[in-house]
Chain length 812, copies 2
Amino acid sequence: MTGQERQERKEGHEQPFAVDPWQVAEHGLDLTSLARAESVFALSNGHIGLRANLDEGEPHGLPGTYLNGVFELRPLPYGEGGYGYPESSQSVINVTNGKIVRLLVDDEPFDLRYGELLSHRRWLDFREGLLRRSAEWTSPAGRTIKVDSTRLVSLTQRAVAAVEYAVEAVDGPVRIVLQSELVANEQLPGGPEGDPRAAAVLEAPLLAEAHHSGGTKGVLVHRTRYSGIRVAAGMDHVIEGPERLDTVAESEADHSRITVTTVLHPGQRLRLVKFIAYGWSATRSLPAVRDQVEAALTAARYTGWDGLVAEQADFLKEFWDVSDVEIEGDVELQQAVRFAIFHVLQAGARSEERAIPAKGLTGPGYDGHSFWDTEAFVLPVLTYCLPTAVNQALRWRHTTLPLARDRAAQLGLAGAVFPWRTIRGEECSGYWPAGTAAFHIGADIAAAAARYVRATGDAEFEREYGLELLVETARMWRSLGHHDAAGRFRIEGVTGPDEYSAIADNNVYTNLMAQTNLRAAAEAAARHPREAARLGVDTEETAAWRDAAAAMFIPYDENLGVHPQADGFTDHQVWDFENTPPENFPLLLHYPYFDLYRKQVVKQADLVLAMQVRGDAFTDEQKARNFAYYERLTVRDSSLSACTQAVIAAEVGQLDLAYDYTAEAALMDLHDLGGNTRDGLHMASLAGACIALVAGFGGLRDHGEVLWFRPRLPTGIMRLGFSMMVRGQLLAVRIDHDETTYTLRRGEVIHLRHDGETVQVKAGRPVSVPTTNPPAQERCSQPPGREPARRQAQAGLSAGRITSGPDHLAAE
Amino acid sequence: MTGQERQERKEGHEQPFAVDPWQVAEHGLDLTSLARAESVFALSNGHIGLRANLDEGEPHGLPGTYLNGVFELRPLPYGEGGYGYPESSQSVINVTNGKIVRLLVDDEPFDLRYGELLSHRRWLDFREGLLRRSAEWTSPAGRTIKVDSTRLVSLTQRAVAAVEYAVEAVDGPVRIVLQSELVANEQLPGGPEGDPRAAAVLEAPLLAEAHHSGGTKGVLVHRTRYSGIRVAAGMDHVIEGPERLDTVAESEADHSRITVTTVLHPGQRLRLVKFIAYGWSATRSLPAVRDQVEAALTAARYTGWDGLVAEQADFLKEFWDVSDVEIEGDVELQQAVRFAIFHVLQAGARSEERAIPAKGLTGPGYDGHSFWDTEAFVLPVLTYCLPTAVNQALRWRHTTLPLARDRAAQLGLAGAVFPWRTIRGEECSGYWPAGTAAFHIGADIAAAAARYVRATGDAEFEREYGLELLVETARMWRSLGHHDAAGRFRIEGVTGPDEYSAIADNNVYTNLMAQTNLRAAAEAAARHPREAARLGVDTEETAAWRDAAAAMFIPYDENLGVHPQADGFTDHQVWDFENTPPENFPLLLHYPYFDLYRKQVVKQADLVLAMQVRGDAFTDEQKARNFAYYERLTVRDSSLSACTQAVIAAEVGQLDLAYDYTAEAALMDLHDLGGNTRDGLHMASLAGACIALVAGFGGLRDHGEVLWFRPRLPTGIMRLGFSMMVRGQLLAVRIDHDETTYTLRRGEVIHLRHDGETVQVKAGRPVSVPTTNPPAQERCSQPPGREPARRQAQAGLSAGRITSGPDHLAAE
């Protein structure tokens, strides 16, 4: 494809990725949006993350190799400081790049910016877990070659990644030099200016400690300057090609290189398998970390390339068997939701007592920080398909309890205050009204722990980890709130989920979540009295929690018949949407916080999220009125909104609107709806797409002991199917427009509620019950210009755009 | 005095300054608190400010020479930025030091840290306006000399300062070298760490542009690096001494020096008069600024030292005749209030279309910024004694209107938004919840303009400046607030005077001040229809202002029978004062903002200030209940509180409490009650001391066309007298416990209200009316440990400590 053709392609197709139910594929290469594809095709196992930079390193959008928990400290400056402000932040760093395989063709570098690119395809099949690439290129000197590369980050061997790289001569003998490298302290391009969401770029964060090369192996060991984290990266190779093949190993401080030289005749191939391993630690010695890497390399080489590929496929087969969400009637949405599930898996699979960042390990966005997103959006999905990942993620939170207790003490509170944003556990928020004040994160963590225990029955986890998380967050709430003269328990001066409000009194979401938290802590303490006593909990304390929960103040506007998001919210001036031009979104980049905070304008679902997670606290009529009220105010400047709006839209019977929001959540990154997929994927929005389907159209609610379903489908979806692991049993749900079928795929018997009625499902005895469709109703309205894209038309269109993988791609 | 004696002195007397009704004197020299004395003895005319650094430059606490409006820009950093955040701040800089006269005694520098200091006195008489110093010192080599120096900053020649320096040999022939200098880019000591209130120290901010010396003259010209302000400093000398006297002139980039050498025999004196002049401009050329300085020097030399001293005394005689506040029965308070008035005069006398900073020109505290303090505390005092200074200060605000309109537009508001803190007019606040959100500054400025016009009848000012200030602030209020469904006009998401609350709805002070502002603008527009039309004001707009003012929402807590400071305030948890140790004050240095904001704890009078400036909006019963309620919550971590509490304490009949607060406000700097007098004097607290006396015990209220008085005295004060200039007339008020006498010292006739009754006072016909003392009542309580010091005991004690100036000092 010539440069001109590439240009036409770009103009002709707005979305660069072909639609296919099981994979994402890119045809051609758009040099102007490399960074976006690097995020979309990123591979990770939650431990290691590799952006989809080209093998040859350049051109690139944003080079990225991330190790979970490897960060650098950077000072947090303040024009005017204040007590308790964090002094430093933590930023994920781009570590030693092990992906690089450079190719010289008769001494001309294989660089797609030069010569002629005859074809270029990349695709990622969610069943394989491999990023495949196929290119045919004619060098400026006129030599044509074919390159096929496949990359994986192992889901079974967490320290290992690997690349299979094959080059084939097409039109004549050609001298080939392959340079397989480890490169530390890569130069990074600057981020987009003025957008606080883009990560701070840290230059040359790695100090060299050791380097070694020999045979087909190379190792680099570095240490971060301020955070003192030792990082070892190693590579080993298997090389196959013509007989005459020279191999040279070299290394220096920031660079290790294995060079393979040969001459290929037409049809001849040079194949390189590169095994890559990483080890890191803030405490272990240099030899220990280095040897860990060498051991991982040895194990990977022992498994071999084919072995790694097979393990990957086996892992994914098992995963999809439990986790797939099937959609009939909208293949684009089908693709998007599998893309979403695959990336959520990648983010959480092997995070193992480390945080799951907002972007996973797909990019440097938000500095690599974890927020409440993890517990509120990502873990609810993983709970029912990969509960071990949830166990690990919550155990990470548990390891940070000492820091959270210190933070609480610093803030004058009891119990634990978890950070709004962090990598290691320290608060890294430089703007407290939208950081520390968002105390709801404590309740979000507590809810995730309680949900995990309910879904798995993992009593050991509850005793050892969950109970303490619940107790320390309950203590925080009890000390943060107070009883007023009328005996109501109030929580004041806090920030709820909506970041266009801050420092408000009695945020409904926060108060309801705190109520749940206090009750859950009291119940868990009652279940585990010995462990509770060890934490200093007595019956006076649990009584105080129950009392505060019972007295929790939930503001309600009697005049309007709606819940104000927080005290006084419905008295605020409504944002002047009519006079807000489209280019002024997201509003936070064009209006001051002071103006956003004092007006009725909602960045992301807040009261609406409360209606999802605490549906029991609202009547159906309140839900409908509240939803309609907040729809008119919600601009969705956050990716954490559409999925929640989908769920409640479905509940109140706005099925087409729910469908639109579901698609928005699911397509956030494939269609780059936020314009910042380049900085990494929106894990919570991707997880939210699953939530939109399962909790929205499936009507799943899991705040009680028994799962509730209230299935209903929009016209665009013919059938929806998903499975859920519940206490070791596997329940399949298949929703058609007329009936819903529950099948127990593993286990003996399960009780659930369908449309409020108890249903018993036994092994081998699927139960079909009618799907109740709500009456049609007038569509709720949104702020002008902020309506979600209508999905109906899209569904038909995308059905016509279905492609079917490599065959179609080859025809390109 | 030896080092040991100095130590004893320090331990024996907590307060370093002797009590005297007309002057402040220091006996001995405490090297550990030099900076405090440098502030207390600072000289200024509002244009130039010289800290009281010793003539010889060292030792020093904090060297300081300030020129009003000369600042440097510095970046304002943010851990997380936001739209509309100011990118840079402005910091006052220490400019070329012209005060320095170094002395060598037989080649040993006169440095008080070495040798033996036999005596050292400094005193500042408020009638002279001169800082006098007298020292006797024996050098390490055993030679004794006497040094007498006198320094002035001219109140009549605004670009001029001068020093008379005399050295006398005591015990034998001694070789004397005097080096009179101009020094740019002096090294400054670092500020106290961690206290955001101390100024950022800017190193070497001046770039050399030109230097010149010759004869007895020297000139240095510099420019600030980023703000581009050109600063010229010049000096000229008159030298008298023995016949054999050598004079050398030298200069280089940052340094100009006139050296005088002679030998003195016992009893012989060398006398040097140094004239110093400054000129600065951001626009004028180097020759223009240099020549301006040369011209000022020539004029000063023409006037001569004695002439400058005489002009100073004449100016002050006239000033005190109008401005003195006389107190009988408490000489310490008498001294303190004259100290206060003198420094307020120094800050405002010649500021002339530049800002009056919170510290005047006495120190680098608050970066040299001006806040609402100026309009709300300093200008009300100057209005009735030096109205031209008020005219000038408000004209400075007027010159910043283009910047304030830009800022309003940036914030999405109409009219003008004045900066919370600034030197030149741009917003310099790096923390918007306690900066930009404090919109009340707009109303404070408007109120000052309206008060000035009422007090002077200066219609020309109103037409040319006042009207536009009122109109643009009224427009801001109209766009900031909105009508709710019930038709009430609400102002939400703003910060009132109390900095321990922020971003609240319907702050009573703010809403009442906005109401006044809107009404005043409508009235001024009606008075000056042509000028109003030129500003685009029509009758629809003034109607909208009047309507908003009439509909202004003032929250009231019916249950408690008090006004909440803002919506919901009385529902907040009360701060846990019992468990707040004394060392944790000021609270902002020991507790996070989030905790302060969400609780009932008040840094400084807010609702209580509203009751002073808008007393008409409260019943007497409300005032008493509100005052008692807020007394229990107010910790006075701000120096802008005691004076206001004094005023309302007096109004509600808590006379002894009012007396205590008055003394606290008056002694803020003489007793260093805030612990930070070293960074400069608290102009607003000093002005507040006058307000406490006049508005508190005098009961002055000036929100109507006629002045109201309601005199009452605490037991500690026998008699209180003050004068006020009102529309060119001069009214004297003398308050005794039994009667109050009004005398019209200039003018024909004046009407006023005494205790609610109209009184007519004619020239030559003093009117005496009874002073009504309120019934005794139970003293209001304050947070534990935050009660003001009781004044009764002090008054008796200080009466016994009266000293009477130089005679007593000489006996030391």
